[in-house]
Amino acid sequence: MAEVLVYVDHVDGAVRKPTLELLTLARRIGEPVAVALGNGAADTAATLAEHGAVKVLTHDASEYADYLVVPKVDALQAAYEAVSPAAVLVPSSAEGKEIAARLALRIGSGIITDAVDLEAGDEGPVATQSVFAASFTTKSRVIKGTPVITVKPNSAAVEAAPAAGSVEALAVTFSDKATGTKVTARTPRESTGRPELTEAAIVVSGGRGVNGAENFSIIEALADSLGAAVGASRAAVDAGWYPHTNQVGQTGKSVSPQLYIANGISGAIQHRAGMQTSKTIVAVNKDAEAPIFELVDYGVVGDLFDVVPQLTEEIKTRKG
């Protein structure tokens, strides 16, 4: 069976969920061979094996942390040359897309980004994408070279599928360009204890109607009652009420959770671009004419300062 290279996104050996989803999708088109780089790379093997990796190629070097993107491209290219896979899958993070793109160019292949589904086809893997603010669904294929495809979080349910997961050291020679962009300082983001926005199963967002940074505590309380991530519309971010890293929309993050709850968000096209593929959409807004209500499975026309705290209380009561 053909091998499929899967690039592993991990933090010091802890594999992030989108990679496990990739392993599930990779099994539809071949045998997953995982590539884990940097600090803690070898520690990823057990989790990757549990989710179907037949082999885990690892390499650690200080270059991965000290320089931007290119060392990882060099390593993924080394893995590609060692394995000759039928496809290369990479998580659709900002960095993942850059790594995938540069690899595709080097190996003379096409690239598809932000796939939301992947299936085996007669002429190679077929990727489903959601485009134009999710108003269209497309099916695309890479028609030259080895398909390089990046996949969005929440595109598949994670399935365990124990495999050998034998660890092999990957031999990597860094290119001249690997050290071109130096990382001179790194400040880890303070953990809020909440799930990462793009990976969360539930996202609770606030917009202009939240009317102040201090009022976001109402949104956070609802999010915490559901174990959800917190999002914000551009209006709320531009007003300085919530960090840009939490912005959902065309110029922010694109999310596709099981449940999206929009509070005080009108639903301009730019916001819809970032959340329209959510499976179930709920909105609370004072304005019955707000375009967000065109998208919802359930909407409450009302003041979020009344509705949201009542909802939070009710959830807590029901959860006991």
Binding site: L68, V69, S93, A94, E98, A101, R102, A104, L105, G110, I111, T113, V126, S130, V131, F132, S135, F136, T138, K139, S140, R141, V142, I143, G180, T181, K182, V183, T184, A185, R189, H244, T245, Q250, T251, S254, L259, I269, Q270, A273, T280, V282, A288, L295, V296, D297, Y298, G299, V300, V301, G302, D306, V307, P309, Q310, L311, E313, E314, I315, R318
Partner: protein, 261 residues
């Protein structure tokens, strides 16, 4: 010595319009008004600020696209860019990201550059890979997704805010940077700027000017193929209730019925 800055911009269909596909499954540009991609306005702004901080600098704005794409160049010129290059050729229709990066890299090399500034992604394709591809082709450092950028003594510095960490980056020129919508609000063109833009030079290049063969670009040269594009069925109308004191509880009931609680 003059700092040569090239800003890559894209003319995109207005996101508030009714965007759809043409029969050949490329983006239909005829039925929707186009404009300078909002995310590229930030690139123009940062290029202008870098130029203003330099002793001597020249900002060239570069686009690939049909005749109408000149509108995007005019907007950037009216903001303050010095000159513009328009790559226009019928054979470019249907070019994908790999092909786009080839045309941009060749045009940037022909124009001459010390620094390339790009937006983080286009607002139509939204791939976000073209800056990295162009850097790979040019063989210069990529300093991408910056929310802050500055150039001093031949070095570009910037801040990249990722999911896990915020990083300070540094590279020697020549280099390519891309900037996010957090890099700073783009200026509005002044009346004077709009008038001045009419007199600024816009060069037109085609594929032969760039030594690119027709089969390397366009639908023929594409590395990817869209096989189907289907409009998503409109969502079936959901339940909408008016809050009369029990709105939160009713919503909780709905969430419970969907097994979210």
């Amino acid at each position: 010595m003059s700092l040569r800055i090239v800003v890559t911009v894209k003319y995109v269909p207005d996101a508030t319009g009714d965007r759809h596909f043409a029969d050949d499954l490329t983006v239909d540009r005829d039925d929707v008004d186009g404009l300078l991609s909002e995310l590229d306005e930030y690139a123009v702004e940062q290029a202008l600020q870098i130029a203003e901080d330099a002793d001597d600098a020249e900002v060239t704005v570069l686009t690939i696209g049909p005749e109408d794409a000149k509108d995007a160049l005019r907007k950037a010129l009216s903001m303050g860019a010095d000159k513009a290059i328009h790559v226009e050729d019928d054979d470019l229709h249907g070019t994908d990201a790999i092909g786009t990066s080839l045309v941009l890299a060749k045009a940037i090399e022909k124009a001459g550059f010390d620094l390339v500034v790009s937006g983080m992604a286009s607002t139509d394709g939204t791939m976000g890979v073209v800056p990295a591809l162009v850097a790979e082709r040019l063989g210069v450092p990529q300093v991408t997704l910056l929310s802050e950028v500055s150039v001093e003594d031949g070095t570009v510095k910037g801040r990249r805010d990722g999911d896990a960490a915020s990083e300070q980056l540094e590279a020697s020129l020549p280099a390519l940077v891309s900037v996010t919508d957090q890099s700073g609000e783009a200026r509005y063109p002044s009346f004077k700027g709009i008038m001045a833009a009419k007199k600024k030079p816009v060069e037109s290049w085609d594929l032969s000017d760039l030594d690119i063969e027709a089969e390397e670009v366009g639908l023929e040269g594409a590395f990817t193929k869209v096989e189907a594009a289907n409009e998503r069925p409109a969502r079936t109308a959901g339940t909408i209730v008016k809050d009369e004191g029990e709105g939160g509880k009713q919503l909780a009931e709905f969430l419970a019925s969907q097994k979210f609680i």
